[in-house]
Symmetry: C2
Subunit: 579 residues, 2 copies
């Protein structure tokens, strides 16, 4: 008997797909005689948000459970076989309303006729992107599951990350249970979002379990991209001080792993608590040097993970939105060049991509040259749609109705005309528009609402400008010079007025990004940042810009999350406030 780890990749609430997947597994040779484990909320997908309260969803889910039970009753399996399946346990009140919901693991096995609740998740994460206390009722007890002479401790995702933040300690409860009732392994059922560095933390934590329990730690995680959140899979088994088997990152996979011959009793030591407070989780990626503060550069490994995470984010969105065409507006700058390159690198068969260059009055010839060269390198036809004629006719009409269009109005209208045109093309062809803003711009509000901020999905919105360059250089190193060197070397500009350059009104990107990382991730105050050695004027300006541009981010599309702290659902700041 072995444990099969099913690292699955399904669309939220696609009950038909899930049932087919289960039925498919049952036909495989490896099915009978083994234990099969699936991610947290395998039966529904994660995160569900309010979907789990919608009656259409609930009806669909209960129907799926009923069908699984009927199907299981008909199976004729002769050897002990078990499936441990993540799902929801609903309690309804007498009048048929939802009374409470638990996030649980069900057993479906040769011992049981139907899906049978084994364990309820005890720790319900409710920080950052998580909202589980909003929807679920926590469990209060540990579970040791016995099957065919083997025993396993069960944990669901956050349960393995016990900290002072929580009052219930599922790990300690499990340790106590296992002291009386020795176990062969611990299984953690996860739906654990990706961010850079996350995989190492999981493995480190598994080691802490191993050190106390002395049994294999089976970690199963889902795959997929849900709006902004990426689930990376990377399931693993940790035993004897090392990872003994590991699933792929960012795609579905199945692993098999051995089960210990003899059950073990845990040591008397407790598994150390994690420092799971808001702040320690979001420790900034900063290096404080003698005369400067610098943001940690992305390593090659970070870049590689980022490429695959962004690819999954784009492809999953497109798949779920039933789109197989993409549209990118090229400006001749770094961000749009990187988005187009990323897209092309991972384009699937049957998918199409179109690049559009929309020069205005202030666009440099170099912008055209770069766009043309990039598209040639990538083998993507480039379409050119000049906006300067609209721009002047808009100016004329504006003058006639109101007055001369000047300053910011005259700058932003160019960006908005581009936004309107790229969406006209999108409406015409059904292509998905990818947004090209980076995290630095988003943070300080250096984008035009309804202009360059348009798009269905933000690809680079969790990468600072300096990281955009690092990623571009990594791609060129890995794949040859796809992204023209000229775009890496030219100073960034929105080209909305004569001679405009980003650095005229912002600190150098190295300083800007360090301020932002400290302010956004660790929520450092202005005073803290200045004490660390960052220039006071810059810090004040940047934090102020960040505070007053919340209204733009409110209307921004989902940002593919790469870091522990990203814009979007995990960062909620009121628009209207006093500073």
């Amino acid at each position: 008997m072995q444990i099969y780890i099913h690292q699955t990749h399904h669309t939220i609430a696609d009950f038909d797909e899930i049932f087919s997947h289960l039925k498919g597994l049952a036909k495989e040779d490896s099915f009978a005689g083994n234990i099969h484990i699936f991610p947290e909320l395998y039966l529904t997908g994660y995160p569900l948000q309010d979907l789990c309260l919608q009656k259409d969803f609930i009806d669909g889910y209960l129907k799926l459970c009923g069908e699984i039970n009927k199907w299981w009753a008909k199976q004729k399996i002769k050897v002990p076989t078990a499936l441990l399946i993540g799902g929801l346990d609903y309690k309804f009140s007498d009048d048929g309303l939802v009374e409470n919901i638990e996030n649980v693991v069900f057993e479906l096995s040769t011992n049981k006729k139907e899906l049978t609740k084994l364990y309820t998740k005890c720790l319900l994460p409710s920080y950052d992107i998580f909202d589980e206390m909003k929807y679920f009722r926590p469990g209060k007890g540990a579970c040791v599951w016995n099957f065919a002479d083997k025993s396993f401790g069960l944990l669901i995702c956050e349960d393995m990350w016990h900290s002072d933040q929580y009052e219930v300690d599922p790990i300690e409860m499990l340790r106590e249970r296992a002291s009386n009732e020795p176990i062969h392994g611990i299984i953690n059922f996860s739906a654990s979002p990706f961010h850079l560095g996350k995989e190492n933390s999981r493995i480190q934590r598994a080691k802490e379990f191993f050190d106390v329990f002395g049994v294999p730690f089976y970690y199963v995680n889902r795959v997929g991209s849900e709006d902004e959140i990426i689930f990376d899979g990377a399931s693993f088994v940790f035993h004897d001080a090392k990872v003994t088997t590991k699933g792929m990152s960012f795609r579905s996979d199945t692993l098999s792993a051995d089960i210990l011959e003899n059950a073990q009793s845990p040591k008397k030591d407790k598994v150390p608590k994690t420092k799971h407070s808001w702040e320690t989780l979001f420790a900034p990626r900063l290096e404080i040097k003698k005369n400067s503060v610098e943001i940690n550069e992305l390593t090659d490994e970070d870049c590689e993970l980022t490429l695959h995470a962004l690819n999954l984010g784009i492809q999953d969105y497109a798949k779920k939105a039933h789109m197989n065409k993409f549209l990118v507006a090229l400006s001749g700058g770094m961000d749009s060049a990187l988005v187009l390159t990323l897209l092309k690198l991972f384009l699937k068969e049957g998918q199409e991509v179109e690049a559009v260059y929309m020069p205005g009055q202030f666009s440099a010839t170099l912008s055209w040259d770069i766009s043309a060269k990039l598209c040639e390198n990538l083998g993507i036809p480039l379409k050119t749609l000049p906006i300067k004629f609209f721009h002047s006719s808009v100016r004329n009409q504006f003058r006639e109705t109101f007055e001369e269009m000047t300053g910011l109005a005259d700058e932003n209208i160019q960006s908005r005309l581009r936004g309107a045109m790229i969406y006209a093309r999108s409406n015409q062809t059904g292509a998905m528009v990818l947004n090209t803003s980076n995290k630095s711009e988003l943070a300080v509000g250096y984008s035009t609402l309804y202009g360059d901020s348009v798009g269905a999905l933000s690809v680079l919105g969790d990468l600072y400008k300096s990281e955009v360059y690092t990623l571009a250089k990594y791609i060129n190193k890995k794949f040859g010079e796809i992204i023209p060197n000229e775009v890496i070397q030219r100073p960034p500009s929105a080209e909305l007025r004569e001679g405009q350059e980003d650095q005229q009104s912002l600190p150098p990107y190295s300083v800007l990004d360090a301020i932002l990382e400290g302010h956004l991730s660790y929520r450092y105050s202005i005073e803290d940042l200045v004490k660390m050695g960052l220039p006071s004027d810059d810090v004040q300006k940047v934090v102020r810009l960040c505070n007053i541009s919340e209204y733009k981010r409110y209307q921004f599309c989902p940002v593919i999350k790469i870091k522990a702290k990203s814009f979007g659902f995990g960062r909620r700041i009121p628009i209207c406030k006093s500073f």
Copy 2:
């Protein structure tokens, strides 16, 4: 000695303003010798979301507390005087990080040298727009506060709404405490969001308390609009089976109320629990008749409350964004006419409003006539900016770059050119653009992203189309025929193609709105709605449109919340899902 109820209206985190307010009160004759009560989180504002974790905020808040303590130490008040002040109690770990936060009531009195924690909120609402479990740690005990021979039970907002959803019962704990230690009254410190019908529920609930405790129920609520949430004030005192005094709705106010001579012991009956489940709170405003299902019409009282709520929403946003100009794009339709009218009805001195009419190729003459007549009625100058010339030059350029622009692309580009032009005007004058979409359109995605969906704030986004008409008629009834009858009578149209009318592709608004109210508020399934008697084809179409248009609402501006269930922060549905 009396109780002074301070129904305050301050900007979130405006610590200077709050300190000034306190110092101002202390100079008034009514200050010394009385008890002063303030809303929940008076010292910070509510809701704070992640602000309460930002170090700049925390530093500012702790500085305020320090200043209040210093100031209080210098006061020389000879008679017993007390302030009960809502604020946050932070605990930091050894390394200076936030360990936990409590939502508390402080006492500042002639008995205490400084702000002293009295009571921690026990029930932390985490449904709909609320997220308190994300930020705060709950209290676990009741508080009877004794001061100058008087005793009061204290509750913070949600504490008065105990239901099965919660495991701790602060009301029952208070009843037990008060059984041993009779009290003179109960004080509830609230930051309670407005929605239609909310005030009655509060008073009903106060009656339930009175029936058991037999003492006055002092209810103090804040005023203000925070992004989408309106706090209506409407503080009151309930005693002897009636409201004995009541504060104004939607503006700051101060009430004074007597204190009972003799303390009372509560009855042995428990205060009934509320049915506070997700579903019962959001019971739909529907009337199920023999052959039809109809949405409950807004009553005159609802209309009056709605007018004032919308006014507060607009004015507070403008004030906090430091804007004193407004801009409305008139289409000749009902929604924009109502927004402009609402705005003008409550315009303050020094504020300006501009209306812009942007006719396109398919705009009817009637649209111009209506816009002109409305602006004449309101005394607002109307500017006309035709888009048909841009529209044709855009078509020409599109043809040259790609192909003939057709269908949806050709419809939406008109709306997006209008969006770009209204924002050009906004950039030029610094005026705030008000969005004019209604809840029915938003629900089914009948608006153009970056087109008519633009704006800083949505005024009508929580009113169905049928309710928009009701409100318009109410205004005309109350103020004379301001809104031209022609716009009330003409069939709604986006005028983006020849002869387009909304009802060609949607069910009649009465049916559409009933389906939406059932689906959105109560989360009824398609099956439920059909069983109620709504047409099956319409139900399927509308629910489907609602499901697939989530991506548009994701990028929509804040909607002023009028109903128990509105779009925005209180309704979170994944964009990508299987249905």
